[in-house]
């Protein structure tokens, strides 16, 4: 049984219920657990367990520093490194900075898949969980 918190919905449980209902396009989903029914909530398919905001913020800081962007520049979870002006060397150095900041070790294969701030933050959380 999935547990539904106030702030997030576990995607995998929703997915299985979706399959049963054979819903292909879904903007909102009504979830029922233990007799209670929740209001339909917009479902962000990408977010399984969102990284903590502090993590995302730290990543933004590291990216800002690496790319020498002004303190007020707009960097969010969705921000793509490449769009912010990072070249391949910058991206490598960003990951290195994240390793140092968070005390983690990133495998090359994982590193290759990081293109946005959010992806970096999610990977950090995942690696921290494993510790």
């Amino acid at each position: 049984m999935a547990s539904v918190t106030a702030s997030s919905v576990s995607f995998s449980s929703v997915a299985s219920s979706l399959k049963k209902n054979q819903v292909s396009q879904l903007k909102t989903v009504s979830v029922s657990f233990g007799g209670k029914s929740f209001k339909p909530v917009p479902l962000r398919f990408r977010v399984a367990c969102a990284a903590k905001p502090e993590t995302v913020e730290k990543v933004c800081e590291i990216v800002r520093k690496q790319l020498a962007l002004p303190a007020d520049s707009a960097i969010t979870g969705e921000s793509k490194f490449a769009s912010l002006g990072a070249d391949s060397l910058d991206t490598v150095e960003i990951v290195m900075g994240l390793e140092e900041e968070f005390g983690i070790s990133v495998e090359e294969e994982s590193a290759q898949s990081i293109t946005t701030v959010q992806e970096a933050a999610d990977m950090i959380e995942k690696l921290n969980e494993k510790k």
Partner: protein, 398 residues
């Protein structure tokens, strides 16, 4: 984090994270990063068309004629200088060494004994050294590609194949000098008996067929910066194979590699002089060109190397070259630092805003590369041992 650094222009692993460098780096330990610009960059990269068993074919969206036409006259105006100064770096043919000077003499009665001695010395040299020597030889043998590349450059190309401009004279004579390198290494390897000549010959045929993509855009600024870098890289590389040959007790092979290295040094001097002139005449344009080439990464000429079975042949060869210390990511950083110093990039004045950014980028790049390389070394995993068709599928550690 293991970084894939490919010095050489990316081989088919083009989408690999941070792969760039001349030789390709499988782990941060190898110079891949700097060898091939296999990095996922901002530039539009065409997806590698990788059919199984096809030669690696990584092609960036090809930019052409990026030098503005008004700059053509710079090269016209340099023709007198080229005639006086540049051509002076060529050696008259009569004074040049020829491959026969270093090989058993077929016209002599002692030929068979000389061959026997060569083969005995070669037996003492390990397989991993031969992998690197073969890779170097294959690179040299792809000379048609390099002469072609020089003739793609606006303002300096040989228009007819017999043009008398000093640029054209230089290019033909340079090609002629380089031609001896491949010939000499080919004959040595053939006589040594240590390698599978047919596989090597196949590799050469594939490579010449593939060409190379140094991203010089018909632009002689980019082109001569590229060749400056390359000549120094080959000088270092052949110098190291010479040193190693000596360590393995083969003085003749050491002389072979050392002689080739001295040619490369002379060529490096010539090409860096051209770029020095460009920095004098057009410091802003030249520093922008330097930065552009470094951002794109200096790709190795043989990055599209393929032998019919190993889709990552260049990467594997580069890894061995890195491990043996023949050509490493450190060398890439050192060459860059040398050129920054040689061309006094830090002292340039009167630069535009873009030029200043380019100057900062280029001057700041060597330490960044070294830091990357250090971390890679610290994380280096146990390298795999793989077969190479060049040595009859005997195995060598990457």
């Amino acid at each position: 984090m293991a970084l894939k650094l490919s010095l050489n222009s990316i081989n088919c692993q083009s989408q690999k994270y941070s792969s760039f460098a001349l030789p390709q780096m499988a782990s941060l330990g190898s110079p891949k990063f700097f060898m091939a610009s296999t990095l996922r960059s901002n530039s539009k990269e065409v997806e590698t068309l990788k059919k199984p068993f096809s030669p690696p074919r990584e092609v960036h969206v090809q930019v052409t004629h990026s030098m503005p036409p008004q700059k053509l006259e710079i090269f016209k105006s340099l023709e007198n200088w080229a005639e006086q100064d540049l051509l002076a770096h060529l050696k008259p043919v009569e004074k040049c060494w020829q491959p026969q000077d270093f090989l058993p003499d077929p016209a002599s009665d002692g030929f068979h004994d000389q061959v026997k001695e060569l083969r005995e010395r070669a037996k003492e040299i390990p397989d991993d050294y031969f992998i690197v020597l073969v890779g170097d030889m294959v690179t040299e043998e792809a000379l048609p590609t390099y002469q072609t590349m020089l003739n793609t450059l606006d303002g300096v190309r040989d228009e007819t194949g017999a043009s008398l401009t000093p640029w054209a004279v230089w290019t033909r004579a340079w090609t002629a000098e380089e031609n001896r390198h491949g010939d000499l290494l080919n004959k040595y390897l053939y006589l040594s008996g240590r390698v599978d000549m047919k596989q090597i010959e196949k590799t050469i045929q594939f490579l010449i067929g593939s060409g190379m993509d140094p991203r010089t855009e018909n632009n002689p600024y980019l082109g001569f910066i590229y060749t400056s870098f390359q000549e120094r890289a080959t000088f270092i590389s052949h110098g190291n194979t010479a040193r190693l040959a000596k360590e393995h007790g083969d003085v003749n092979l050491a002389q072979i590699c050392g002689t080739i290295a001295s040619d490369e040094k002379r060529h490096e001097t010539a090409y860096t002089k051209i770029v020095e002139k460009l920095f004098e005449i057009d410091p802003d344009g030249t520093v922008l060109a330097f930065s552009d080439m470094m951002r794109k990464k200096i790709s190795m000429p043989a990055h599209l190397m393929y032998d019919g079975s190993d889709d990552n042949l260049f990467e594997h060869f580069s890894a061995v070259a890195q491990r043996l210390g023949v050509y490493t990511a450190r060398d890439y950083a050192d060459i860059l630092e040398f050129l920054v110093g040689r061309w006094k990039v830090a002292d340039l004045i009167g630069l535009s805003a873009e030029g200043l950014k380019a100057q900062d980028y280029v001057c700041g790049l060597p330490p960044r590369i070294r830091r990357l390389e250090e971390r890679a070394q610290g994380r280096a995993k146990q390298a795999p041992i793989i077969p190479f068709s060049w040595i009859f599928d005997r195995e060598v550690m990457l």
